[in-house]
């Protein structure tokens, strides 16, 4: 057997698969002991088979392909693996569900309420800028705003004022800037819905560095059952 015959016969593969008849096998053996190219081809085939057995018999983690040999997926594509994708999808669905079932209906209701005419409870604090006055009160349904009427005393030279609402424990609820020209008339301030009933204090201060108190109004807020 010469080299050309061995190549055409695919003698290496037949030899490794045990497909050569005894006489052809001996002829090929004589040949590959002399032909380095066929010897190398046979050795490569044999090594491939040996390593194939090793790879196929190894546990999955032992034959993991190194990161540098893996097909490039890009960092962001790696997040699409099931281990990440499924929990992320579940969270996304939960957020969408909450928004559609809770947040949006509430927002719609608030917008609808804001766009509709309504009668608001009100308190006139025009004569209550005094610690000695009876405490004015108003009753509102929970979640409903309140209208306050106040007169800020004139005579101060502030360019603007800051009105701050304090809860019964003194915690600030919100602040409102009042331009100086607004205090010429009675101010009507819409108090946003408060979380709980109780005694509230509206403090008006001059909006300068000293924050001098100009007026203080106390009122009682009650909730209607």
């Amino acid at each position: 057997m010469n080299h050309e015959e061995a190549t055409q016969l695919m003698a290496s593969e037949r030899y490794l698969l045990g497909e050569l008849a005894p006489d052809l096998r001996e002829q090929f053996e004589e040949h590959f002991f002399e032909c380095q190219e066929c010897a190398f081809d046979l050795r490569a085939g044999n090594a491939f088979i040996a390593h194939t057995k090793s790879v196929l018999s190894a546990p999955v983690h032992a034959t993991a392909v190194p990161a540098e040999h893996r097909a490039p997926t890009g960092r962001w594509l790696g997040w699409l693996r099931p281990a990440f994708a499924f929990p992320a999808l579940a969270i996304l669905l939960a957020v969408i569900g909450y928004q559609n079932l809770v947040s949006f209906p509430q927002l719609k209701k608030t917008v609808a309420a804001a766009n509709s005419p309504q009668i608001l409870a009100s308190i006139s604090l025009l004569s209550s800028n005094s610690r000695g006055s009876n405490l004015p009160s108003a009753t509102v349904r929970p979640g409903e705003p309140l209208l306050l009427f106040i007169d800020v005393p004139p005579g101060s030279n502030f360019h603007s004022f800051v009105a701050q609402l304090l809860s019964s424990d003194g915690a600030p609820q919100w602040s409102l800037t009042i331009p100086a020209e607004s205090i010429k008339d009675t101010l009507s301030i819409r108090i946003p819905p408060q979380p709980r009933p109780g005694t509230y204090t509206l403090v008006v201060r001059g909006a300068d560095g000293s924050s001098s108190e100009v007026a203080r109004y106390r009122f009682e807020l009650q909730f209607q059952n």
Partner: protein, 198 residues
């Protein structure tokens, strides 16, 4: 592809006992002898004994006055000595006929140094990539033939392919594997030369 030339100077160095030439000679023909004997000899120990006996006789002849004169016949000479050793083995023990599906030894390198381990790992990874490029059917085909060692005829029939298909599959996979395998052999030869110089 450049191979080591079995020429006059090579034969001279071999006959004079040059260590690196002897190492190369033994490494090169050992694998071919193992490939030849494994389908004929069941016992790994017997295979190794026959391999060593072959080299003992080859070196004895090379260093005798009746040594071979034609370097290009070196390979044929080794094969011939191996055949004689094998015949004597048959006469001395029960005959082992070559059966197509006889268990074959894993002829992978069993030496334990770091370079060998890394080379083996590298070759495993290369084979893994080659297998990944195959279809699932072809991977299963190779698994059943080489790992589970089922009858090749039965497996081909089960997969609806013929022996030609299997042969071509092996051929293509081997071709993909060859370049890295050649590098690993080159690394081993250089390592042997460095060790010898050291």
């Amino acid at each position: 592809m450049q191979f080591h030339a079995f020429d006059g100077p090579y034969l001279e160095r071999l006959c004079s006992g040059d260590f690196s030439t002897e190492q190369h000679f033994v490494d090169y023909f050992s694998e071919l002898i193992r490939l030849k004997l494994r389908s004929r000899v069941r016992s790994p120990q017997a295979l190794e004994d026959l391999r060593q006996e072959t080299f003992v006789r080859v070196f004895a002849t090379l260093r005798s006055p009746a040594r071979i004169r034609q370097p290009e016949r070196l390979g044929a000479f080794v094969n011939s000595v191996c055949n004689n050793v094998l015949r004597e083995h048959y006469r001395a023990s029960a005959r082992d006929t070559s059966v197509e599906d006889e268990d074959t030894d894993n002829l992978s390198d069993t030496s334990g140094d770091v370079l060998t381990f890394l080379t083996r790992k590298e070759l495993d990874e290369q084979v893994h990539l080659i297998l990944e490029d195959l279809s699932e059917r072809d991977r299963r085909l190779l698994r059943e033939i080489f790992l589970e060692e089922r009858s090749k005829d039965a497996v081909c029939q089960a997969f609806g392919v013929d022996r030609d298909y299997l042969r071509v599959l092996l051929h293509r996979a081997k071709q993909s594997f060859k370049s890295l395998y050649l590098k690993s052999i080159g690394r081993k030869v250089r390592r042997t030369a460095v060790d010898q110089e050291g």
